[in-house]
């Protein structure tokens, strides 16, 4: 079982490696063997040479030759887009497909025969607790593994079409594969250090993918920002892992969970709070959420893969995985609840005012992730994971559908869209399912999962913060109420911004456009199917089943938000309903100017300190060293004074010395 999981982890990794090293070679072999590429007849010599230009870059780094003008590479430029790069395409899609099949087998096996299976390949000595290189498969990881597998496959297939004429397809595809591999490592890791390896590798893949169009400085900055902001959280996470691992005497997750109860209370709380840093970074929660909207600089499929379904899910998954630790530290859960409430409402407000469709979806992701962390904070672990899975499906769907629209109109801006429902019927229907799920309309998946979280939050608020967990843990009553009210407000806001995005994309004055190609259409159809039916799986579990009172309350808020937005839109279908917010809009659009604040409070002082250190190093530290030179010269000059070269002086000195010695001897004896 763990062997299957190991294969699932390793396959995309090998795919990435081979894609970079052998992909061009495979293309040549296939072309020479008479396989037609998308462009036309097999094996014209010019094309084969063109592909040769494409030769391997070093594993783990981007680097395909690209014309100096960068992104505006002429269509069909050899060796840039996925067209003509048959080898890299095969190395990207086939291992991912095999991996998806493996995750499906794993999930089915665990479903039929529940239980935890662990396997260890090796034990690495460290001088302290050893690192167990091994995997563990249980219900939670099998479910997440399947989600990652399906979304990754959808994204790889979609990318073949989407990246047809974009530069550097093969390094792009390799990073997507490597990323998938790293995420699966996080999901299946049995040891916290191994988990951390996957966690960080994912981060660096995200850096390279966000910066895919590095010709533009803004994209480069966005990539750097994403990596650095998450790394701030990751530093905390690493310390948290160290505290937990040394407290329990092992980095093995099962051992840590077993030992959490017997650790000193302070240790557990500190560890849990440190872990939360990592969670806030990766899952883009306040105050470390600022990287996610900028991360939309990457190609759209990347936004779907990383910033909707997988990487951002890692933080939520980590809390769920180590829930035993958090149950021992309700203080950390309370902090998580407050952060979730702030993220949820703040991001939903920001989403309301965005002009860029992808940024809107990014803020919506922050808000939806906060619903999951809120669920975790009130003890609704199952509901949170349920929402994680449904959100993974419908947000990947929404991003990929947005990619189809962006592909068709050539712009990310909502104002350039509108009236596409006739021209793009498939995308329209699929996106409608996605927005319905986002807004939480029954019977689509999002309704069930969000409702499960809200119901649980209501219960805990009414129970004055008692979580109903085994340990009898409780969070402060006001925290529970804050979470519950934030959830309701967010429900209304979500309905409003989802409706706005839907209306502004597909309604209003009609516009001519083409439907997306098959490789882009099919993944969204599949994801739409999943988003439509996933919710019913929740009916199997009592704690996930909706109940009339709470569900009606949530639907009431949904209706209020959607109704207000519809009224704002109805009068002027061609304009942006967000314009009605007048002077509030810039504040929301800039997400309360938090970026500017961080720039003032962190970035500038650090840069200033750097300059101070550079100057001090030169003037003070090195200055002292260099001052030793004149000092030594001065000493030397002093020592040279008596060396006049005059024998008379020397003799006088000699006599004086001898006299002094004689006198001294006489005086002392």
């Amino acid at each position: 079982m763990t062997l299957l999981a190991a294969q699932a982890v390793v396959l995309p990794f090998l795919g990435a490696l081979c894609g970079l090293l052998l992909g061009p070679w495979l293309t040549r072999v296939l072309v020479a063997g008479g396989v037609r590429t998308e462009d036309g007849p097999a094996g014209p010599p010019t094309e084969a040479r063109g592909v040769e230009e494409h030769v391997e870059a070093v594993p783990g780094v981007p680097g395909e030759p690209v014309p100096a003008e960068g992104r505006a590479a002429p269509a069909g430029a050899p060796g840039s887009g996925s067209r003509g790069a048959l080898g890299p395409v095969l190395f990207a899609v086939l291992p991912t497909a095999a991996m998806t099949a493996l995750t499906l087998i794993i999930a089915l096996t665990v479903w039929r025969n529940p239980g935890t299976r662990t396997g260890t390949l090796a034990e690495i000595p460290t001088g302290g607790p050893p690192i167990l290189v091994g995997l563990s498969v249980d219900g939670l990881s099998a479910l997440l593994g399947l989600l990652v597998g399906v979304v990754a496959l959808a994204v790889q297939i979609y990318s073949v079409a989407y990246m047809r004429d974009e530069p550097r397809y093969s390094s792009y595809a390799a990073f997507v594969s490597l990323f998938t591999s790293a995420m699966l490592l996080v999901v299946f890791a049995r040891d916290l250090m191994v988990l951390y390896v996957g966690w960080e590798v994912m981060g660096v893949c995200s850096y390279f993918l966000i910066g895919h169009h590095w010709e533009d400085r803004a994209n480069s900055r966005a990539a750097t920002k994403a990596f650095l902001v998450t790394r701030v959280g990751d530093a905390g996470l690493l310390l948290g892992i160290i505290v937990l691992g040394l407290g329990a005497g092992s980095f093995d997750i099962a051992t840590v969970l077993a030992g959490a109860g017997s650790m000193p209370h302070t240790t557990v709380v500190v560890a849990a709070l440190l872990l939360l840093c990592g969670v806030a970074g990766k899952s883009a929660q306040f105050p470390l959420h600022t990287w996610l909207p900028d991360a939309m600089a990457g190609p759209t499929p990347i936004s779907a893969l990383i910033h909707a379904a997988t990487m951002v899910a890692a933080g939520v998954y980590l809390v769920a995985r180590l829930y035993g630790v958090f149950a021992e530290a309700p203080a950390a859960l309370a902090v998580l609840g407050v952060l979730a409430a702030v993220s949820m409402v703040g991001a939903a407000l920001a989403a309301l005012a965005q002009r860029d469709l992808k940024r809107l979806l990014a803020y919506s992701t922050i808000s939806q992730l906060a619903i999951m962390t809120a669920g975790l904070a009130v003890g609704a672990k199952t509901a949170a994971i349920f929402h994680l899975v449904t959100h993974g499906a419908f947000k990947a769907l929404l991003f990929l559908a947005a990619g189809c629209v962006i592909h068709a109109v050539g712009s990310n801006l909502l104002s350039d869209m509108g009236g596409l429902r006739k021209a793009m019927p498939v995308t329209f229907v699929c996106a409608t399912v996605g927005y319905a799920a986002l807004a939480g309309l029954p019977p689509v998946a999002g309704f069930f999962s969000k409702d499960a979280v809200i119901e649980h939050a209501q219960q805990v608020a009414v129970d004055d913060g008692r979580l109903g967990l085994l340990a009898g843990a409780a969070i402060p009553g006001w925290t529970a109420w804050t979470v519950y009210l934030a959830l309701l407000v967010t429900t209304a806001l979500t309905a409003a911004y989802a409706l706005r995005a839907w209306l502004m994309t597909f309604f209003g004055p009609e516009r001519a456009a083409h439907e997306a190609p098959g490789a882009m259409r099919w993944p969204i159809v599949v994801l739409a199917g999943a988003s439509a039916v996933l919710g019913f799986f929740g009916l199997a579990a009592e704690e996930l089943r909706p109940h009339l009172g709470a569900a009606a309350m949530a639907l009431l808020f949904t209706a209020a938000g959607a109704g207000a937005m519809f009224l704002a839109w109805r009068d002027a279908p061609a304009s942006d309903p967000a314009e009605r917010m007048k002077r509030v809009r810039p504040v929301l659009e800039n997400a309360f100017y938090l970026d500017g604040l961080y720039d003032l409070a962190v970035v500038r002082p650090v840069k200033w300190l750097g300059r101070v250190v550079r100057t001090a190093d030169k003037r003070v530290l090195d200055g002292a060293v260099e001052a030793a030179v004149p000092a030594a010269r001065g000493l030397g000059a002093l020592a040279r004074l008596p060396q006049t070269g005059n024998p008379q002086t020397y003799l006088t000195g000699l006599l004086a010395g001898a006299l002094f010695l004689v006198l001294a001897v006489v005086a002392l004896t």
Binding site: G70, V133, E200, V201, T224, L609, G610, R614
Partner: protein, 495 residues
């Protein structure tokens, strides 16, 4: 006879040989150097093959003959799990340096070849020596060739940099010699194995503290530890590429190796006394180095300051006086040698292509102009910022683990604080490396000056480093299995 001797006479002969050939005979000194250093590397690999991995803490292939009987100095060599990786690293980097010199025009190539082999002799000897005096002799052999390499083939400010390098490190050596004598005379033996086994039993606490201070001072200059680092940026900026590679890749490790091999096991009381201060200076170095890097405008200077930060992690590991921390230090030594070696190779190639090491002068868009060169630079930078899965991570992570639970008798609160500060340093490290990547690899290139992509000789000298960084990063057990046993033995009996 011990096969370790081959590791010493081969470089020695190779250093002398080019001068024995009459000037009338045309000789390709670099080609000769490639072959000879290849032989040395092969001998080092023989040691890897012959090593008994069941007993990494035993001194293997020992050789122990009287050298200066009058004062009890012996020619004592041996290799264990601590020194084996460093010996291989030295032989490998020297070989790669000769590969890198490839078809380049080297002024006075005979002298360069001879000096590089003299360097190799001193470096390998330092890691093999098991006698205090012998250790000191090899430690000093390294100085003159490195001085000459900087002073002859360096950049514009080479004389000043070379003088600063040699005077500063000689001053350190004086302290080191005094400390070694205090230790050797106090314990009545120069035998490092016996000294480590006795765990400082025969030396009074005060003498231990004084001896550790002297030895530590001497080695700290070499490492370099903040605030004794100011010779390093100048030396690196002016040194030719191969000089920088060996300086950062191996020379700096001699300092930390000496601490682990001599000072910590032989002077445990002294170590416990100084460890909190050492740890403090180490984390100051980490943060200071990273901050200084953020404001650097010269590529080689930036990498030099980054070394101060990375060696800070190594020193922090040592300061914890725990098995984990010492493992971290030894791992960090090797990882830094591989990664920074690669970075200096890259810096040399970039400087040569662009005609400047100034970041503004290099401009942006290297990914468009020389995509493979930029890709390798991105790889090396990511490795240097300590990405898990690559070599740089494990040393830093284990140093943090070690400081969370430092050795017996150390103030835990102080070390936990160091851990937190070091973690901040790790974030800053990522910041300056990504800033570097963003500045020179991203963006559009300015004028269309053609920049050659990676050449075959460069691939040959970089590929082994890239492979090793990945290999050790994915499987840290390769090194940890070697060092864990000896490290436990070194500190075991003392605590």
């Amino acid at each position: 006879m011990s096969t370790l001797v081959h590791l010493l006479w081969l470089p020695l002969a190779a250093a002398v040989l080019p001068f024995l050939v009459p000037a009338s005979i045309r000789l390709d000194p670099i080609g000769f150097g490639r072959v000879a250093s290849g032989f040395v590397l092969a001998m080092a690999l023989v040691q890897v093959a012959a090593f008994d991995y069941g007993e990494p803490s035993r001194m293997q292939q020992p050789m122990d003959v009287p050298w200066i009987p009058a004062i009890g100095v012996r020619f004592h060599l041996g290799v264990d799990g601590i020194s084996l990786p460093l010996v291989v690293l030295t032989a490998l980097l020297t070989f790669l340096c000769f590969l890198y010199l490839g078809r380049q025009e080297v002024r006075n190539a005979r002298l360069m070849t001879a000096l590089l082999f003299a360097l190799e002799l001193g470096m390998i000897g330092t890691f093999l020596a098991l006698d205090l005096v012998l250790f000191f002799v090899f430690f000093e052999i390294v100085l003159i060739p490195m001085y000459a390499v900087i002073a002859i083939w360096g950049g514009e400010g080479r004389r000043r940099a070379a003088h600063k390098f040699i005077l500063y490190t000689l001053l350190g050596s004086a302290a080191l010699l005094a400390g070694l004598m205090l230790l050797g005379v106090g314990a009545g033996t120069f035998d490092m194995v016996a000294l480590a086994e006795s765990q400082g039993m025969r030396i009074a606490r005060g003498a231990q503290i004084a001896a550790f201070a002297f030895i530590g001072l001497g080695l700290a200059v070499k490492t370099p530890m903040w605030p004794l680092h100011t010779w390093l940026p100048d030396a690196h900026t002016e040194a030719p590429t191969v000089g920088s590679v060996l300086l950062a890749g191996v020379l700096l490790k001699m300092g930390t190796y000496g601490l682990v091999r001599i000072a910590v096991p032989a002077l445990p009381e002294g170590a416990r006394f100084w460890a909190p201060l050492l740890g403090c200076l180490a984390v100051v170095g980490i943060v200071y180095g990273a901050l200084a890097c953020l404001a650097q405008t010269d590529l080689k200077r930036l990498i030099a300051y980054s070394s101060i930060g990375h060696m800070g992690f190594v020193l922090l590991g040592i300061a914890t006086l725990s098995a984990t921390g010492l493992n971290a230090a030894l791992f960090g030594n090797i990882a830094h040698g591989l990664i920074t070696g690669l970075l200096f190779f890259l810096a040399g190639s970039i400087k040569e292509r662009y005609g400047t090491g100034d970041l503004a002068g290099i401009g942006g868009g290297m990914l468009a102009r020389a995509p493979r060169l930029a890709s390798v630079l991105a790889f090396a930078s990511v490795a240097s910022l300590g990405l898990p899965g690559l070599a740089g991570f494990w040393g830093e992570m284990l140093a943090l683990v070690g400081s969370y639970r430092p050795g017996a008798g150390l103030p835990r609160e102080a070390f936990v604080t160091y851990m937190a500060v070091a973690a901040v340093g790790a974030v800053l490290t990522a910041a300056y490396l990504l800033r570097l990547l963003g500045r020179i690899t991203h963006g559009r290139s300015g004028t269309g000056v053609v920049v050659a992509d990676v050449r075959p000789a460069e691939w040959a000298s970089w590929a082994p480093l890239i492979v090793l960084v990945v290999l050790i990063g994915l499987w840290p057990g390769l090194l940890l299995a070697l060092t864990d046993g000896p490290v436990r033995a070194l500190i075991g009996a003392g605590s």
